[in-house]
Symmetry: C2
Subunit: 247 residues, 2 copies
């Protein structure tokens, strides 16, 4: 098997209201069976999920938590507003469960690569819905329906550095289940459910140059993972709290 | 930027003492700047890291822990022998820190894809040393020195499914540090240290068919990540315990 990944060149800086699907379709020479991985920030900007810190009024809890963690109270206010619960708040790190169910630092809010020194970008409000909408747009604009993955860079327990993971997807089963299949000696494969959506996101990030702004990557050669229906979305990757030993 | 990944076809079943570097060099048409990702199991088998469960005598702690978790006492004995400490033992799950410093389920011991129903495969004793040795062998056999990554499939907190990560590497800086670089608006990039070794491992796994046994993947187009010197190895990805909120 072989896989080819290319960063899509020539995308303009994305702003509120931009039709991301058309911008991609014009440049990506898409075929059926392709996977399009889009960095979260481009999706969020197109959806207007940008906030000015000077317009945020910290509520009751944010100033105290901000002081404990050495963070900006306005940023902490936004993080709390975007979150269901706080998982850890220690050592200057704020790990939350976002309103969409993702566990990550700072609710995925990041100040880099945004126009305006005062501005921060939130995660898309419903990244799976964003992925379905962009897929629909690509179908209309390009006449093909690649899978769409929306990715973000998350840190991990135990391991240094960030890797890109999927926070939204459409047209892809995010988990590939090899269980029950036999290996080459006829033995059942043990415990092999693979988070292919996350692996596609990680692979795509390798082809990006973070300083030049190439938020979209086309992956060719993974057509076996692409489905006609939009499927359950990346939410299917969320481990239920009761089965999680690290909350 | 573009990336090409190909599974190396035609490798024989690997056994104890096999010269993995020569087997790869003969088939992979390697060039300078390539990255070779090798599934842990092939490396372990070549290194003789296979054990027969019937030859394992559980010590004091293993039978009790095995009963609690619903596991085979012989397997638990091997897991404990391969580990520095137990991170969690609950809900049938045994998460440990291995003797090489990796935090994962069952010390990476897995019974699938091994010849002999009684046999299990341990992780390589020192996966970074394995990667350096294989890289040296490739240099000798193929006259080029690709980066070598040894990968395994690990589960993660919070997210379902496994993804491949690097447990050993040579010729690659496992962490790519974008900090201090400016983004396209001239702002410093925030918190962007990327675990490229893990992303290469994840990408490679997408090109493998787990039932057919294609443990080696060649990645072309990531030469900017490949270094002349072997570098610090994947151990540089291990988060120091004192900076980890999830032990």
């Amino acid at each position: 098997m072989a896989l080819e990944l290319s960063a899509i060149e020539g995308l303009p800086e994305v702003g509120r209201g931009d039709d991301l699907a058309s911008l991609i379709a014009e440049r990506a020479q898409l075929e059926d069976g392709d996977v399009v991985v889009i960095a979260q920030k481009a999706v969020s900007k197109a959806e207007g999920r940008v906030r000015s810190l000077s317009e945020v009024t910290p509520g009751e809890r944010a100033p105290e938590l901000a002081a404990e963690l050495g963070k900006d109270p306005a940023v902490v206010e936004l993080i709390l507003a975007e979150s269901r619960s706080v998982v850890r708040a220690e050592q200057g790190v704020l790990i939350v469960e976002t309103n969409s169910g993702w566990i990550c630092a700072n609710a995925g809010i990041d100040a880099s690569n945004v126009v305006g020194a005062d501005a921060v970008v939130l995660l898309p409000a419903d990244p799976d819905a964003s992925a379905r909408r962009i897929r629909g747009g690509l179908r209309k604009a390009a006449g093909v329906a690649p899978a769409v993955v929306i990715s973000d860079s998350f840190g991990r327990p135990w391991r240094l550095g960030q890797t890109d993971v999927a926070i939204g997807c459409a047209g892809l089963l995010p988990l590939h289940d090899w269980r029950g299949r036999a290996d080459r000696d006829g033995r059942a494969l043990a415990a092999t459910v693979i988070a292919v959506a996350d692996q596609l996101a990680a692979a795509a990030d390798l082809t990006r140059d973070k300083t030049s702004g190439s938020p979209v990557v086309r992956i060719r050669g993974a057509a076996q993972l692409v489905s006609e229906e939009d499927g359950p979305g990346a939410a299917a990757l969320q481990r239920p709290a009761g089965e999680d030993l690290f909350r």
